[in-house]
């Protein structure tokens, strides 16, 4: 599986309140949530994002509220992967459970700039910055989590008899 897209770059501690503000949590419709994705940190995100684009951030991405609406909004806005130095633990679980690809890679998080064209090979864990020519290796998921991802999330993994 591969992803390729343009990078939206953010800093440390991007919290789930700015990813999807609580004033929109009276909806749980992915398409509607996507229309407000990143609104309180980047008003232009919704207009600029294209299918396949990639979010790159520094440490503790997705901290704060456990709202699954945050990874749902990111996924529904067309983002193909989030790369960060580290993820807050509930966001990390939620992303795996709903099948939003995420990669922890401090080197890539530091080096990649906004607007860069980036390509990711999920099988090898390789992240290539096509704009700069740099290449990085993301941290591989433990085997257990790979199984959940391979089954397209927790629900399907359980439905398939927890293979």
């Amino acid at each position: 599986m591969q992803a390729k897209g343009r990078v939206f770059k953010y800093g440390d501690n991007v919290d789930t309140d700015v990813i999807i503000p609580a004033r929109y949590l009276n909806s749980s419709d992915p398409a509607e949530l996507a229309t407000h994705c990143m609104e309180d940190i980047d008003k232009e995100f919704v207009d600029k994002v294209n299918k396949g684009d990639i979010i790159v951030a520094n440490k503790n991405f997705g901290c704060g509220s456990s709202r699954e609406h945050a990874p749902i909004a990111i996924k529904a806005s067309g983002v193909s992967c989030v790369i960060a130095e580290t993820f807050a633990r509930i966001f990390y679980r939620n992303a795996i459970n709903i099948g939003l690809p995420i990669i922890e890679c401090p080197e890539a998080a530091k080096a990649i700039s906004a607007g860069d064209e980036v390509e990711i090979d999920f099988d090898s864990g390789e992240i290539r910055d096509l704009t700069t020519g740099d290449s990085f290796r993301g941290q591989a998921f433990p085997e257990f989590m790979q199984k959940i991802i391979a089954n397209e999330g927790l629900v399907q993994w359980i439905n398939n008899g927890r293979p």
């Binding site: 501690n13 919290d15 309140d17 700015v18 503000p21 609580a22 004033r23 949590l25 009276n26 909806s27 749980s28 309180d40 940190i41 440490k59 503790n60 901290c63 704060g64 509220s65 456990s66 709202r67 699954e68 609406h69 990874p71 749902i72 580290t86 807050a88 633990r89 509930i90 679980r93 939620n94 459970n97 709903i98 433990p142 257990f144 989590m145 999330g153 927790l154 629900v155 359980i158 439905n159």
Partner: protein
């Protein structure tokens, strides 16, 4: 090598003699929790699963509390979805308006969380029940759905930071000052993926309500859970509230910790987290030296500080005084029982006579839902748990996190203050 308190609870729930940090386990759950925002998503996921109903109707708690009583039509639809699910599945612990309270204040009060439990909740502040010696942690809606269906959840066994608490706090220094101090010290990701285990002779000076506040905010340091040993103070609380037998776990004497941090309660000062991260802490002395910070609103309530001790602390300071002109004081007892007790003790009269308003239990303003949303440029001193950009309203508003004592004193002076300033 010995296990931490958290590791011992998880080992038992996974049916294993021993677990190690980093190990991935499947654990049996004693309680699965959801609210009016997270449950509808979970119910939708559960419908996709090949299961008949839920694993155990007595081990699920559904507490509509965030936008309840319904703030708008969409919220009403969410609550209706949760209500109908609860009816259809005969969920024992569904709490309707009239019985409901803020989930993390309500469940311990109802005796539904006891020592040794493994609890997941689709709400990040589920870590609150660590105050009672349980392992409890926040998850998302899909985990909640899987938990409701199978009675199990997957966990990566955490390592731990030990906080050795010593000394005795001064008057008006509460659990809130301690946890804000800790978050200021280690940062909002200082305990990422890890347990925060609170021990030491100083914890005997921390009441149950202090401990709930401290464990509640473990997530604000990135922690997986916060946990206290079970002592006489816990037992006293459980005597009044517990509805079922429980198992007390203790950390092994040779348990391994990533680090031990010692904190002397006697050195703590009233502590305030400045916008826009809980780690941006300033003591009241620093604030006075830096210059006055005028405020527009004060909120006293939430799963962090909406319990009876918090109401008493605020009322003691507000008694016979008036809220400063131009400041709005909003007090929200966290549960019906706290509300009733506050009424019987005359605390509600104190709040109203001081010029504040008192609301029915709701998370409301804490997450910018309703009942106290901020306009552009406004500042609020709040006893809640997060001061992120836009958390309580406009992206250009500001939240200062503080204890009920600081919040009440600030309401009176109209700027960030502590009881000593009055």
């Amino acid at each position: 090598m010995g296990m931490t308190m958290t590791q011992k609870i998880l080992a038992h729930a996974a049916g294993l003699p021993e677990v190690k940090a980093g190990q991935l386990i499947m654990a049996d759950l004693d309680l699965v929790l959801g609210n009016d925002i997270t449950s509808p998503v979970a119910i939708h996921e559960l419908e996709k699963m090949k299961v008949e109903g839920v694993f155990n109707k007595d081990k699920i708690a559904l507490v509509p509390d965030h936008f309840v009583p319904n703030k708008d039509i969409k919220s009403a639809e969410h609550c209706k979805c949760v209500r109908e699910f609860a009816r259809k599945n005969e969920i024992t612990n569904y709490f309707e308006v009239g019985q409901m309270g803020i989930e993390h204040a309500l469940l311990p009060e109802k005796g539904l969380t006891v020592p040794g439990d493994v609890i997941i909740g689709a709400d990040s502040h589920t870590c609150t029940y660590g105050a009672l010696g349980a392992f409890s942690t926040g998850v998302g809606s899909t985990d909640m759905a899987a938990g409701m269906a199978t009675g199990q959840a997957w966990f990566k066994v955490p390592s731990a930071i030990r906080f050795n608490i010593v000394g005795k706090p001064a008057k008006h220094i509460s659990g809130k000052d301690l946890i804000l101090h800790i978050i200021g010290m280690i940062g909002v990701d200082g305990a990422l993926y890890r347990s925060m285990e609170f021990t030491g002779e100083g914890i005997r000076h921390l009441t149950m309500d202090d401990r709930f506040t401290i464990a509640n905010m473990a997530i604000e340091a990135g922690g997986k859970n916060g946990i206290f040993p079970v002592d006489e103070i816990t037992e006293e609380y459980l005597k009044e509230h517990a509805t079922r037998p429980y198992t007390v776990y203790e950390a092994d004497p040779d348990a391994e910790y990533d680090e031990t941090i010692e904190i002397d309660l006697s050195t703590l000062r009233p502590t305030v987290s400045f916008p826009h991260l809980p780690e941006n802490t300033h003591t009241i002395d620093q604030i006075h030296a830096e210059g006055d910070i005028k405020i527009d609103q004060v909120v006293i309530g939430s799963c962090t500080n909406g319990r009876i001790q918090d109401m008493r602390e605020a009322a003691e300071i507000l008694k016979g005084r008036k809220v400063a002109p131009g400041v709005r004081l909003i007090v929200i007892p966290a549960t019906q029982s706290v509300y009733l007790q506050s009424m019987e003790e005359g605390l509600l009269r104190t709040f109203i006579e001081a010029g504040g308003v008192v609301s029915t239990p709701t998370c409301g303003p804490c997450l910018g839902g309703y009942m106290g949303v901020l306009a552009q440029g406004e500042r609020c001193v709040s006893t809640t748990n997060r001061n992120f950009v836009g958390r309580m309203g406009h992206v250009d508003s500001e939240i200062y996190l503080a204890s009920p004592a600081v919040a009440a004193a600030s309401a009176i002076t109209g700027q960030i203050s502590c009881p000593e300033d009055l």
